[in-house]
Structure formats: structure tokens, C-alpha cells
């Protein structure tokens, strides 16, 4: 055993991306071995003598529990605990003693590991009687913490008839009337049976209280963190499709402040960041538009104008009960999810006791020495004899952060200093009313408001490298100040009915997403210098420059003298994007029997009406005043004295507020560029309507250990849009367009339960991805003089995909999982941006210009392998048993065929943009009593972010490993303290062009921390 452990540790020391898989497999072998050793003793091997006289059955159970490691479990309703027992002491082992007790008490006792299951002997006989139909409805809860347990398996013992508890721990199971024995299992908890008396044609209400499995958990203190893992893994294990679940409690395990960052820990998920904070989610290496984002099963619109996907940094994690990432969709899910479908599930009231959850955190952002803070408050309660449930949740987050960044554009060097304030307010509520056991209605509302105030100060050094008589050595100084607000609101009103032969649920919902930028101002100034040179080669990570023969570190440098910069132009404007979804849907499920197997036939329909529009105001003002206007006259604001660790010296840039005061006082000195304004506003604004009609049929059949789910979905989409074509920045032509398309999407899922803790899964599914509105609307902007333009592509087809997934999962009683699988996706008509020469465009007189247009590629395929391993290493000796590991790794390769960039008659193979070859996480934790400490590393492999004119111009986001640490101290079951330390190694965001040492962007965020308390009453 020890040798095996050494091998495991040795492997870990040699850890590389490619050996992650090996480590996981190694640990699986260890686990199997330890699992066998950890099995409880046979009761006949347990030496015990017991002499009692006229003791109650309950007392005898207590004595045995005190003298052995075994625990009795029983239903007090079915077992007469007052029965008197007498034992004369001649029995020599526990098995014989239990036989004697069973005979005297007329019960049956069954050993399950260290659990002794006590059943009434009458049960079996009663259960065998033919019975009319009935049902059991109930909730599975953790007896210790009184929290609900989603994903529990509830089976009618000895049959294939079973179900799983939903996200609220609730279940509904049709059973014969009479006395029915239910078997409930949950990872990390003792398997448990309970006999329920079901009325004829009625419903029996039960609350199934589960006790944590001390044997498997080796006396680990159960904290919210562990609860989170249990809930997530149980939901994952019992799911019909391949999915990963992140429970809200589990989010606290990692230092992830928003939903996007929480999702990066999921196997085969990586994220795109903005200013160091996770924003967009990429599942299985596919770009964000290939993954749909839903709240409570309904897609939320995107507040952004040009895309469909949702920025998940706008959603606080505090208001969710769990996040589900479905990697293979079922027919009752929206079909536009090639990468996957992310479902954010909000909370509901659980008990009649007032439940209050609150948290408060404060933190420090090192980049600018500013603070961050976060608070949340949730109150929930059920009223009117559990019929009415009300949950109110609020959370607020505010951070003042920034970044230091340099970028390269051809021969120009740009220094960017960001300072920003972000706030995130989340309000949500769920009101549900259960009329009776069979009918309930609910109303959910959600309001998220994310604001991002950003000040960006730039220096652009543009040397005249060719010594052209038409150019100068210019330094441009720009300050941008803008406020962006993203507001997502949704209302869902629905009902669920469990009728005698069918289940019916339906819902109407309204959701809107707004991106409002009330002001966006950029002030530009330009200075000219006699000499300038930039050295990108000597130190590619930090280029150096010389201006007027002085090194840039000198304070005497001319570029720091603001009086040499003349005002160039000021851009002021605002934008407003609004996306509204109105949805209605219904689902009908009909349970049926096929021989001894239980099945469910389900069908439903859905209509979603979407309206999206984007308006922009952009005013560019030039200076016409007679007096010189130079930067020193409107400079101000913060100066970063330690920009990029002091490698570059900066001076105060333009102060927008000061400039605006001057501008307002002297409007006659500034002239509006009307032509540019009209061209920009017309080219970018649009309105669009998209109606989606969908229907599906599916069936699920459980045949012994095999579950088969198959069916199909049909979706029809009809799109209308209005926009403008702008030719040469002057001629504006209104355009209208429409398109429609349909998809028939067959789906098949198979799950085979090898044993209680092992699943084999396979799925073959069809799905698709809609084009972004900005790509498909016929808006066109052609600038003949500059010889370039962009054209929407109304003929753009959605991307279709056939997906094959195979996965094996092994769950551990100590709360863990080892899973591994492969996936393959075949994409048709994938979309990419193409640049080409053309004289065919509106307003053309035959001039050839460079057009950029989204095009459909020929085909693309992805082949990937993913492995995930997480376990509390409770089998290790001594203090080592507090260790836990969480690791996952995904290897993906893709190739896509596009028209060759060098020869238009040929095709060329490229990697899919956005697809990272390697993605992984490694997290090591340690639990010591109420103390938990965890160090996590998140690895995102490099990926192509933009396809260039040729391969040497392709832009790559460089691979990145972020190290985080978190510690939790469970002060009491109701109160936790935690502290987090993020981006410990100050990992930059880097982009290179063509070759790895040709950096074109390096952005640093430094580290930040948070610490606070979480209270659960």
C-alpha cells in the first residue's frame, strides 16, 4: 500500500500535462485497493458476548452500537422498538446475537457494510400482495445539517422502479399502494431503506433523513465544502445525460467570485477573461457562441450587441443553488448547444423554519492598492403548512482593480494603464405554492446589474521606421472613460401537475438583457518627436524604446512633457443594446411499463420570440479654436508610478472631467464630424427579430442496470433584420433581410450502472449553433478610399454538429470521482471571418476593396479525451488522511477546412479558433478538523483567437496557469471564515502573432485577496 502511495507521489512530482491521466489512473488503482480493505467486517467475525434481560429492542441496539462499529438503521414506524429482548450471553459473535434478536423481535436484520438494516418481517409479506397504484412524494435531507440532498437515488427495492431527487431534494415516485420499501442512496451517506405505507390511488409524503457515512469519510468533519461536493457528485451520477454539476457550496471551495470562474474548474471548460476576471465560457475548446447559457432551464438573452453569448461575470454565484454543464443534450433541451449547455439554477425555500444565509467579505487588489468587497443576504421560508415558499436573495460585489498592459501593432508600441470599478448587484426571488401533492405553481424573478466604469490611459509610440516623408515619429496619448451597465432581468411563471397518468409542466417567461453605455469618452492628443526607435527583439517580453536619443526610463524624456502633445480629437458617445426573449413551453411525461422495465415517454413544445436592437451615438469632435490646446492644459487623474513594475515611466494623461468642463464652456471651439457620425451610427446599428418554434419527443427506459434515452427535437428559426449599408462613409442605404432554417436533432443517451458507484455512458447527439447577429445582418460598411470594408452575410448558415461522447465514471464513497472519456464532434458549415478582395458590393463602381465577412467553412472536427479525478484521500494513514485532490485534464485536437489563404482555388486546414489543445485543473486540499486549506492551479492551453491573412498573422492567446489558494475555518456549523489569495504568481494574459516570441500583448493584473465570514442560520 505504502509502495503504491510512493508511486503516486513520485508520479505527482513528475507532473506534466501529459501525465495527469496517468496520475488519475494510478490513484484509481489505489482507491480500489483501499476500498476493499476498508469494507466492514462480517458480523459473524465480530467477537461479542451480550447478556441482557427484558431490555427494549432500542436499548439493545444502543448497547451493540456502543460495543461495535456497527450502526442500526430502521423505520420507527415499522419496527416495534419497545419489544423486550433477553439474551443469555452464550452467543459468541455479533451474527449469532443478531439472529437471536431477529427471532425475538420478529424483524429481519441485514448487514450493509457497517450498517445494520432492520426491517419488519411483516413487510415482505405485505409487499407481495397485489396492490393498486399509488405514489410516494418526498424530500431527501441531510439529517445532520437539515439541508436538502439533490441527486439522491430512490428505488422501490427489488425493482427497476426508481427516480432521483431534484435540485431541491424532492422526488415523486409512482409505486403500488400498500407497504413499499424504498432504498435511498447518496454518495457520502449510508445507504438507507424505509418502509412507506402508500394509500390506494393516493400519495404518501415522506421525509427521508440520511446520515453521513462515517466509515467512508473516516471521521472527517462534515463542512459545507464537503456537502457541496456530495451534492454535485450525486446529481452528476444520477443524471440521464453527461453533465457536470457545481453546487453553490462547492463554489466556495475555490476562490471564484463569479460564475465564469467557478466553471473553469469543470473538466473540459476554459474561460476567456477580461481584466483578469473570467467572463466567457468555452466548453470543450469551442468558442463561447457554441455554448448556450440558461437560467432555470431557459436561455437568457445576451446584453451585448454583437454576440449571443452571455458574459458570466455579470452573474453573482451567490444567488445560485447549482450550475449544470451538460456536455450532451437531451431532446427536451434547446438544440443550439454544440459545446454544451450551462444551466444556472436559482434557489427556492426549503423548510418552515426561517433560513437566513449571509456572507460578507473584504479584500485587497494589489495592482492599484484598492479594495474589493462582497456581501450577500438570503432569506427563505415556507408558510401555510409548507404550501407557500418564499425565497429572497440579494448580493452585492464591488471591486476597484486595474491592469498594466503593453501591446504591439506592427511597429508601434502601446502602453495601456487600466483603472476600473466594477459592481455586481443580484436580486432574485422564488415564490412557489403547492396546492396539494399533485399541483404546484411557481414564480421566479431575477435581476442582475453589472456596472463597469473603466478609465484607460494609453501611450502609442509610432516610429517612422521607413523614414517616410509622409509620416512622422508620433506619440499618441489617449484617455478613455466609460461606464457600461449590463442589466439582465427575467421572470418565469410556471406550474407542475402530477395527474393520474401523466406529468405536465408548463412555463411562460420574459427575459431581457440590456447593455447601456451612457457615456464613452476618449480624448486623444498627438506629439511629434525627431527621433524614435523601438526594440522588440532584445527583450521580447518587455520592449524598450528610445525617444530623442534618451532612454525611456529617464525622467528628462521628451515624451513625458505634456506640452508637446496637441489636442487631436475627442470621441464621445453612448450605446444601447437590448435583447428580449418571450418564451412559452410545455412538457408532458407519461410513465409506462415495458415488461418488468419502467419507462417514461415525454414530449413538449416551445416558442421563443426574440427582439434585439442596437443603437449607437458616436460624436467625434476636432478642435477649431484659435489658441493652442495642449495636453498639459487638461491633464490630470491618477498616475501609475509603478507601471509594469516600474519598467516604464508614465505621466498624467488627459483628465476627462477636466476636459469636459473646458469643452462645455467652449462649444464653439469644437467641430463635430457629421459624416463620420452618420456613417458609424448607420453601419453599426440594427434591429432584428428571431422566432424559434421547437417540438420534441423522447422516451427513457430503465432495463435493469441499463438506461436508454432516445428521441428527437425539431427547431425552426425565422429571422428578420433591418440595418444600413454605408458606402465610402457617405452614402447610407437602408437594408432589410430575412432568413429561416430548421434542424432535426435526433439524440440517444445510454447509461449502464456497472454497480452502485460506477456508470458507463454513451451519447450520440445532433446540435447546432446560430450565427451572431452582427455576422448575419446585412449591415455593410465600405470605405472605397481606404480600400476596405465589412459586409454582413445574410446567407450565413448555422453550424451543424454531430457529437459522440463516451464516458466512464467511478464514484467513491469518500466523496470523489474518477471519470474518463472521449468525445468527437463533426461540425459542418463552421463560421470564421474571412478577408478577401471583391468589387461586388452595394454602391460599387467596380472598385476592388478588401472585404471582411463571416463565412461558412467546409467542415471541422474535434476529437478529445477528458479525465477527472477528485477524492478525499481518507484512506491515507494518520494526518495524511486529511488530504484531498481535485484534478482534471482535457486533450482536444481539431482541424477545420477553409478556403486557402494563399490560393483561393485550394483548401487549407487550420485549428478551430478558440480551441485550446490542453485544459486542466489541479487542486490539492487539506482538511484538519474544521480547517481546510487548498491550493489550486488552473491551466488554459494556447488557442487561436483570430485568423490572419496568412498563418504568420494568426493571433494566439498563450497558455496560462493561474495559481490560487483558499482556506476555510468552520467556526461552527453555522459560521465559516474563509480567506482567498488569487493569481499568486501574477500570471499575465499574453497574445502572440505567428511565432511564440512575437508577443503583441502582455497584460498583468497582479494578485488580489478576499477574506470574510459566511453565516447559515
Amino acid at each position: 500500500m505504502y509502495t503504491k502511495l510512493q508511486i503516486c507521489i513520485s508520479k505527482a512530482q513528475k507532473f506534466t500535462l501529459y501525465t495527469l491521466t496517468g496520475i488519475a489512473l494510478q490513484c484509481l488503482l489505489l482507491n480500489v485497493l483501499f476500498a476493499r480493505n476498508g469494507t466492514a467486517q462480517n458480523i459473524y467475525d465480530v467477537k461479542l458476548r451480550l447478556e441482557v434481560k427484558d431490555k427494549t429492542l432500542k436499548d439493545v441496539f444502543t448497547i451493540i452500537e456502543e460495543k461495535t462499529d456497527f450502526t442500526f438503521t430502521y423505520s420507527s414506524k415499522r419496527v416495534d422498538l419497545t419489544k423486550k429482548i433477553t439474551l443469555d450471553g452464550h452467543h459468541t459473535n455479533l451474527g449469532q446475537i443478531l439472529e437471536a434478536i431477529a427471532t425475538q423481535a420478529r424483524v429481519a436484520i441485514q448487514q450493509m457494510d457497517n450498517l445494520l438494516l432492520v426491517k419488519s418481517n411483516l413487510t415482505t409479506a405485505t409487499a407481495k400482495k397485489p396492490a393498486a397504484a399509488g405514489a410516494v412524494r418526498g424530500r431527501v435531507i441531510d439529517d445532520q445539517f437539515k439541508s436538502v440532498l439533490p441527486g439522491a437515488t430512490i428505488f422501490q427495492k427489488g425493482t427497476n422502479n426508481g427516480t432521483t431527487s431534484d435540485v431541491n431534494g424532492e422526488f415523486f415516485l409512482r409505486v403500488p399502494s400498500g407497504e413499499v420499501e424504498l432504498e435511498i442512496s447518496y454518495i457520502g451517506f449510508r445507504k438507507y431503506t424505509e418502509v412507506v405505507t402508500v394509500p390506494e390511488n393516493g400519495v404518501a409524503d415522506v421525509e427521508l433523513k440520511m446520515i453521513s457515512d462515517a466509515t467512508q469519510l473516516q471521521d472527517i468533519v462534515i463542512t459545507g465544502v464537503l456537502q457541496g461536493q456530495q451534492k454535485a457528485l450525486n446529481q452528476q451520477k444520477t443524471a440521464d445525460n453527461i453533465k457536470n454539476v457545481v453546487s453553490a457550496d462547492q463554489i466556495g471551495r475555490f476562490p471564484d467570485p463569479n460564475v465564469a470562474e467557478a466553471l473553469q474548474r469543470v473538466p473540459a471548460v476554459n474561460i476567456e477573461r477580461d481584466q483578469g476576471e473570467g467572463r466567457y465560457v468555452l466548453v470543450r475548446g469551442l468558442a463561447p457562441q457554441f455554448t448556450n447559457i440558461s437560467i432555470n432551464g431557459e436561455q437568457i438573452p445576451s446584453p451585448e450587441a454583437s454576440v449571443r453569448y452571455v458574459a458570466l461575470d455579470a452573474v453573482p454565484a451567490d444567488q445560485l443553488s447549482s450550475i449544470e454543464v451538460s456536455k450532451a443534450i437531451t431532446p427536451d433541451m434547446d438544440g443550439d448547444a454544440i459545446g454544451g449547455s450551462v444551466n444556472l439554477i436559482t434557489r427556492t425555500a426549503q423548510t418552515e423554519n426561517i433560513s437566513i444565509n449571509a456572507s460578507g467579505l473584504v479584500g485587497y487588489n494589489n495592482i492599484n492598492g484598492k479594495t474589493n468587497l462582497q456581501g450577500s443576504l438570503e432569506r427563505s421560508q415556507r408558510f401555510l403548512n409548507n404550501k407557500l415558499g418564499i425565497m429572497l436573495n440579494s448580493s452585492y460585489y464591488e471591486t476597484e482593480r486595474g491592469s498594466d498592459n503593453w501591446e504591439r501593432d506592427d511597429n508601434a508600441l502601446e502602453l495601456r494603464d487600466y483603472e476600473l470599478t466594477r459592481t455586481r448587484l443580484g436580486l432574485s426571488s422564488t415564490i412557489d405554492y403547492k396546492f396539494n401533492d399533485k399541483n404546484e405553481v411557481y414564480f421566479r424573478s431575477l435581476y442582475n446589474r453589472f456596472t463597469d466604469r473603466e478609465e484607460r490611459r494609453r501611450y502609442i509610440f509610432n516610429p517612422n521606421v521607413d523614414d517616410s516623408p509622409f509620416e512622422d515619429n508620433e506619440i499618441e496619448r489617449l484617455t478613455k472613460d466609460r461606464l457600461e451597465k449590463q442589466i439582465v432581468t427575467s421572470f418565469n411563471l410556471g406550474a407542475k401537475h402530477t395527474l393520474s397518468k401523466i406529468n405536465l409542466d408548463y412555463e411562460v417567461s420574459y427575459s431581457e438583457a440590456i447593455q447601456d453605455t451612457p457615456f464613452d469618452i476618449e480624448i486623444g492628443s498627438i506629439g511629434e518627436v525627431d527621433q524614435m526607435s523601438i526594440d522588440f527583439d532584445t527583450n521580447p517580453k518587455f520592449p524598450s524604446f528610445v525617444v530623442d536619443d534618451l532612454p525611456h526610463t529617464s525622467s528628462q524624456n521628451i515624451y513625458l512633457n505634456n506640452s508637446v502633445y496637441e489636442f487631436d480629437e475627442a470621441t464621445m458617445g453612448n450605446t444601447y443594446a437590448k435583447d428580449v426573449n418571450k418564451t412559452a413551453k410545455f412538457n408532458i411525461g407519461i410513465p409506462y411499463k415495458a415488461g418488468n422495465s419502467d419507462g417514461l415517454f415525454k414530449f413538449g413544445g416551445k416558442v421563443r420570440l426574440k427582439e434585439k436592437r442596437y443603437d449607437i451615438t458616436e460624436n467625434v469632435f476636432s478642435y477649431t479654436g484659435s489658441d493652442d490646446l495642449t495636453l498639459d492644459q487638461y491633464e490630470g487623474g491618477k498616475v501609475d508610478d509603478n507601471f509594469l513594475d516600474g519598467k516604464y515611466t508614465l505621466r498624467a494623461n488627459a483628465d476627462p472631467e477636466r476636459f469636459i468642463r473646458y469643452f462645455d464652456a467652449n462649444p464653439g471651439n469644437f467641430e463635430l464630424s457629421v459624416e463620420d457620425k452618420l456613417a458609424t451610427e448607420a453601419a453599426e446599428s440594427y434591429t432584428a427579430k428571431e422566432d424559434v418554434y421547437a417540438g420534441y419527443m423522447m422516451t427513457k427506459l430503465q432495463v435493469s442496470k441499463l438506461m436508454v434515452l432516445g428521441g428527437f427535437r425539431f427547431e425552426h428559426t425565422s429571422v428578420d433584420y433591418k440595418s444600413y449599408t454605408v458606402v465610402n462613409e457617405s452614402e447610407i442605404i437602408p437594408e432589410e433581410g430575412s432568413t429561416d432554417y430548421s434542424f432535426f436533432l435526433p439524440q440517444l443517451h445510454v447509461r449502464y450502472n456497472v454497480n452502485d458507484n460506477t456508470n458507463l455512458r454513451m451519447a450520440v447527439t445532433r446540435s447546432y449553433a446560430r450565427p451572431n447577429f452582427s455576422d448575419i445582418i446585412p449591415a455593410q460598411e465600405i470605405n472605397i478610399n481606404e480600400g476596405e470594408g465589412t459586409i454582413g452575410n445574410a446567407q450565413l448558415k448555422p453550424v451543424g454538429a454531430t457529437n459522440v461522447d463516451i464516458l466512464a465514471e467511478k464514484y467513491f464513497g469518500s466523496v470523489g470521482i474518477l471519470s474518463g472519456g472521449v468525445f468527437y464532434k463533426r461540425l459542418t458549415d463552421f463560421i470564421f471571418n474571412r478577408r478577401f478582395e471583391s468589387s461586388q458590393y452595394p454602391g460599387s463602381d467596380g472598385q476592388v476593396v478588401d472585404i471582411t465577412q463571416a463565412r461558412n467553412g467546409e467542415a471541422a472536427s474535434l476529437l478529445g479525451f477528458e479525465v477527472a479525478y477528485q477524492q478525499n484521500l481518507t484512506f491515507l494513514p494518520g494526518v495524511l488522511k486529511g488530504l484531498s485532490i481535485y484534478a482534471n485534464y482535457t486533450l482536444t485536437s481539431s482541424n477545420a477546412e477553409i478556403q486557402s489563404r494563399s490560393n483561393s482555388n485550394d483548401n487549407e486546414e487550420i485549428r478551430l479558433p478558440g480551441q485550446a489543445k490542453h485544459v486542466g485543473n489541479l487542486s490539492l486540499g487539506y482538511d484538519l478538523g474544521r480547517f481546510n486549506f487548498r491550493v489550486s492551479a488552473n491551466f488554459n492551453g494556447e488557442y487561436i483567437s483570430e485568423i490572419g491573412g496568412d498563418a504568420s498573422e494568426d493571433l494566439y492567446v498563450k497558455d496560462r496557469i493561474q495559481m490560487d489558494a483558499t482556506t476555510t475555518i468552520t467556526i461552527s456549523p453555522k459560521l465559516r471564515f474563509f480567506a482567498e489569495f488569487l493569481n499568486i504568481t501574477n500570471q499575465p494574459f499574453e497574445i502572440y502573432q505567428g511565432q511564440e516570441n512575437h508577443y503583441i500583448q502582455r497584460e498583468f493584473y497582479s494578485w488580489w485577496t478576499r477574506a470574510g465570514l459566511k453565516l447559515d442560520l
Partner: protein
């Protein structure tokens, strides 16, 4: 009681969050309130010494297509100041005019103004034009000048104190500085090609800058080339043999004239100490004859004036543009220069 406290605390916190005000930047100029600007077309100008008058254009700055133009009267004060040398006692407003197009015919109309006794200050009143339905969007202030061959001096024309009941302000520039054009190249000059060789030499310089010129032969031109040097701007006009009819209608009278077509090459120029530098832009035409780019060009040359014969000889040395400026890649280069002599027109 405890329950109510919880409720109250929740409500208070929610209210605090929702009422969080954004720290907005108060940006006053926007589409709803940015005013119309009345301003001068240029900050400075000049004409030949013998010019008898000079026209300064006053106009509204570019405005949005749906902007409401003023219908009520606008008054604006003017002053003529800093009169130097010969300009003193000679410069006054002669008249202020604007043009209106009605039924494809252009009508010139006058704008009233009051002037002080010395004519150096006064008030211009811009009123609603019945045909336009609003005030004129541009007008010309015509100033009288001394008109003598040896006139020297300068002056400033300034607008101020704009009054309007509508959203109109005085924009910038509002001061115009006039001076006598003092470079010796100023004026109109004419060149006559005597043979095809001379024309081909001219084409070798300017052909790369003008696809139309590059495509014609000696037979296609009359042989006349005009060089017109004004204030900071100049142009060459190559007269073609082909004629065209031009119809104009002014003040109700229509007139049709037959004129030779011309090819124009325009540039800004600097002429000092015998060095002449021309800068402009030209279009690039691909093999199929369609325009695909527009590039800036620079022409380096030298010039000599022969006052006795009233000629200017220009030695063209080098023509470069943004894509062809490195040594050996120039559009035209000749160390000795190719010379053409123009005669005063």
C-alpha cells in the same frame, strides 16, 4: 420581533444596493443639444496685389441632416481691424450675398448689414429666406480692396456677438486674416507644348499621379497647360482637344457655352527661395481600370522667375508617393530635373 428585524434589514440592504448611484460623467454636448455653429470658412487668405475685392465665406458648420435650421433672424457683429500699410482707409464691406437655387437656376440675393461711419464695424442681419424657409446656410462677405499693382499690407475681419433666439452660437474660426499674396510664383501661368516629346516628358512626371493623363496621347490635347498658384494651393490644367457644352443658369438667365475639357492636378504648395514643393493625393487604378486606393504624393522641384520675360521655369526633380518613396522606387526621379517654362497669363 426578530422576524420583523430580519425583514427590515433585508429591505434596507436591498434598497441601498438598488439606489447605488453611478458616478456618471456629465457630458453636456450630445445629439439633443449640440448647437449650430456659424463660422468663417477659413482662418486666413490672400490674393494678388491688384485684387479689387475679396470674398470671405461665412457658413454653418456641418450639421446633422435632421437638424432644425434657424427660421428667426440672427444678428452678428463684425469688425475690420489691424489694417496695415495700404489697407488702411480702403477696406470695407461692399456687399453680402448668398445664393439660392430655385428650379435649377441659381439666384444671388443680398443680406442687409449696417456699418459704422468708417465702415470698419457693423452688424449683419441674417433673415429667413422665403424660398429656403430658413436663414441662408452660407453667405459671402465681399470686401473692397485697394486694387493697386503694388498694394501691400494686411487686415483682420472678425465676427462677434452673435444673437439668436435659437440654438446657434458663433463657432471657430471667427477671425480671418488677409494678406497680399507675396510669393513670386503666385498667379496664372501658361505652357504650350510644341511637340509630342515635350508632352511625353510632362506625362512622365504627372502621368503616375493621374490615370486619365497617363492614358492620353499628344493628339488628345490642345497643347495648352495652365499653372495657377493661389494662396497655398495650386493646380495644373491640361486642356484636352475634346469639347463639352456647359449650361448655367444664374438669376433667371440661362447660358450654354462650349468649352474644352480639362484634366486637373491639384496640390498644396510652398514656394520659397527657388524651391517649390507640391503635396497632394492621387488615386491608384488597377489593371482593370478601376480605382483601388488613394495615396499622398510629394513633388520636389525648383523654379526660376524671369521677370523681364514674365516666365517661370520649373525643374521637376522627384515625384514620390506613400508606397514609392525609397531611393530607386520613386514615381519619377531625375537628378538634373526636367524643366518646363510657363509664361504669365
Amino acid at each position: 420581533m426578530k422576524k420583523h428585524l430580519y425583514t427590515l434589514a433585508t429591505a434596507l440592504i436591498l434598497t441601498a444596493f438598488v439606489s447605488c448611484a453611478d458616478n456618471s460623467l456629465d457630458e453636456k454636448p450630445n445629439d439633443n443639444n449640440f448647437p449650430l455653429q456659424l463660422l468663417l470658412d477659413a482662418e486666413e487668405g490672400a490674393d494678388l496685389a491688384d485684387a479689387e475685392d475679396y470674398s470671405i465665406e461665412v457658413k454653418f458648420a456641418d450639421y446633422l441632416p435632421d437638424a432644425a435650421l434657424p427660421e428667426s433672424s440672427i444678428t452678428i457683429d463684425y469688425t475690420i481691424t489691424d489694417l496695415e500699410e495700404d489697407m488702411a482707409d480702403h477696406v470695407t464691406i461692399d456687399k453680402i450675398i448668398y445664393e439660392v437655387e430655385v428650379d435649377d437656376c441659381t439666384y444671388e440675393r443680398e443680406i442687409p448689414f449696417t456699418a459704422s461711419n468708417d465702415g470698419l464695424s457693423g452688424t449683419i442681419t441674417l433673415s429667413r429666406d422665403e424660398d429656403l424657409k430658413f436663414v441662408p446656410t452660407s453667405f459671402e462677405v465681399i470686401l473692397t480692396l485697394p486694387g493697386e499693382d503694388e498694394t501691400k499690407g494686411s487686415f483682420k475681419f472678425e465676427l462677434s456677438n452673435l444673437k439668436s433666439s435659437e440654438r446657434v452660437i458663433l463657432g471657430s474660426p471667427n477671425v480671418f486674416e488677409y494678406e497680399v499674396l507675396d510669393n513670386d510664383a503666385a498667379g496664372e501661368w501658361e505652357l504650350e507644348f510644341n511637340n509630342e516629346e515635350e508632352f511625353e516628358a510632362f506625362k512622365s512626371i504627372f502621368g503616375p499621379l493621374n490615370p486619365e493623363l497617363q492614358g492620353i496621347n499628344f493628339e488628345d490635347i490642345t497643347g495648352k497647360v495652365k499653372a495657377e498658384f493661389e494662396f497655398e494651393e495650386m493646380k495644373f490644367e491640361i486642356e484636352l482637344a475634346e469639347e463639352e457644352e456647359i449650361t448655367t443658369c444664374e438669376n433667371g438667365e440661362s447660358e450654354t457655352e462650349t468649352e474644352n475639357k480639362v484634366i486637373e492636378i491639384e496640390a498644396e504648395y510652398e514656394a520659397e527661395d527657388g524651391e517649390l514643393s507640391l503635396e497632394g493625393s492621387h488615386v491608384i487604378v488597377n489593371d482593370e481600370g478601376v480605382e483601388e486606393d488613394e495615396l499622398d504624393f510629394i513633388i520636389d522641384s525648383e523654379y526660376e522667375i524671369n521677370e523681364a520675360e514674365e516666365t517661370i521655369t520649373i525643374h521637376f526633380l522627384k515625384v514620390v508617393d506613400e508606397d514609392h518613396f525609397k531611393e530607386g522606387e520613386e514615381l519619377f526621379s531625375n537628378g538634373d530635373g526636367v524643366s518646363f517654362t510657363f509664361t504669365k497669363d
